[in-house]
Symmetry: C2
Subunit: 262 residues, 2 copies
Amino acid sequence: MNPRDLPIGVLGSGLGGLSVVRALRRILPFETFLYLGDTAQGSYGNKSAETIARLTLHAGTALARHQPKLLVIASGTASAFGLAALQAAAPCPVLGAIEPGAQAAAAAGGPVGIIGTAATIRSGAFEAAILRRSPGTILYPLACPLLADLAEEGWIDDPITDAICRRYLNQIPFEAHTVLLGCTAHATLLPSLTRVRPGTKWLDCGELTALAAEDMLRSGLGFRTASAQGQLRILLTEDSPRVRESGARFLGEALEAVEQVG
Amino acid sequence: MNPRDLPIGVLGSGLGGLSVVRALRRILPFETFLYLGDTAQGSYGNKSAETIARLTLHAGTALARHQPKLLVIASGTASAFGLAALQAAAPCPVLGAIEPGAQAAAAAGGPVGIIGTAATIRSGAFEAAILRRSPGTILYPLACPLLADLAEEGWIDDPITDAICRRYLNQIPFEAHTVLLGCTAHATLLPSLTRVRPGTKWLDCGELTALAAEDMLRSGLGFRTASAQGQLRILLTEDSPRVRESGARFLGEALEAVEQVG
């Protein structure tokens, strides 16, 4: 097979990564995608550094067996702790969700708020990547552990979600006109986020990662040669009606071709 | 050592189990306790049956090495999936958090609401245990995945927590005058729960499990012979300032004598 025709492997710590798949399919409709969502492990966002790194390496290695031309880590938390180890182990390039968001945040200039899971914020990964590009940028990192939970529960565009977003976001000084969504599950909460903090420029690490994947195909890995809509195959470590329902919200369509894997 | 002087091992899937330790220490002040909180794994509440059973057996086996006279599973979710396997493997009696709550619910009579994590409710463990004692009881089980997250985040006695409790509890018909709190983290939310559903009789599975442990000591295992306040040793698979802060809310005092274990 022409290496350009190999699939793109996408690794999610749960279901939030399906929002990255949604963006990837919109931007790269002719590519084929293989998504592995580690739904059996629950959220990575409250786990330890060592656990997240181990789980990311394990899931990434399983995906690599399908011979992808590119692996995308569609999770801020998994990228913060597991990118380096997976890059060292994988036989193909690995793109994480930290650098694309950090690049956009550095380019935005001015004070930047960063929201993410407890683990992602504790890692300091976004701050380090932004400051490497743009030293001296004023950053306001904030752990918002409930946001991913709300997104998974599906309380979207909801007054309770508004109140929780307001509680968190009000802790970031309003001089920060740019806020980086450091968790791929956050984008589904944009209706609430926009309401509680109007005029803010939101940088979605998931969307930016999908755009960075397109760049990598353009600058070397190559686009798939076929001109028919590419397929999406979904592997989940835990499948259930609840998982399907929650996943469909992130993907923007019903989950089909789901396989449960060990 | 006199077997009566051995410690009581308490297994929590995270920090919510410390609310059971709090009740145990109030009821049994002279006993010594060893708590193992599997904080590195995040919440068990969204994991698969197999994963929860495996983690519970693993943590329980680690606790059993300390030669407890009794093991208490201070988590509705871990009890729902892991009790039988741990009972088969442990060298001492193992008490889970399902039966004590179910016994009280069956005794209460009338329609009973049951709230718990997604996994606990999916298991049907409370329903089965209640119906075995009191066939025909009308039960309203309801998964409330955000409640344990709110309790861990520490938004206690809070208008947002009121709104979330109202959203969930309104799904249980008001003819259910009794609601079983099927997650040991729920008890800290009682200020909100009581406000949104006044006149309800709340059965706290954690408190009831502590009382059942006292019964087991009285009816055979024996009380510790010393008359000095017993010690509490806390083992956590992940320790951090955030974990300490959240844990102190469940325990009702600062976490001291914490050891991180692998």
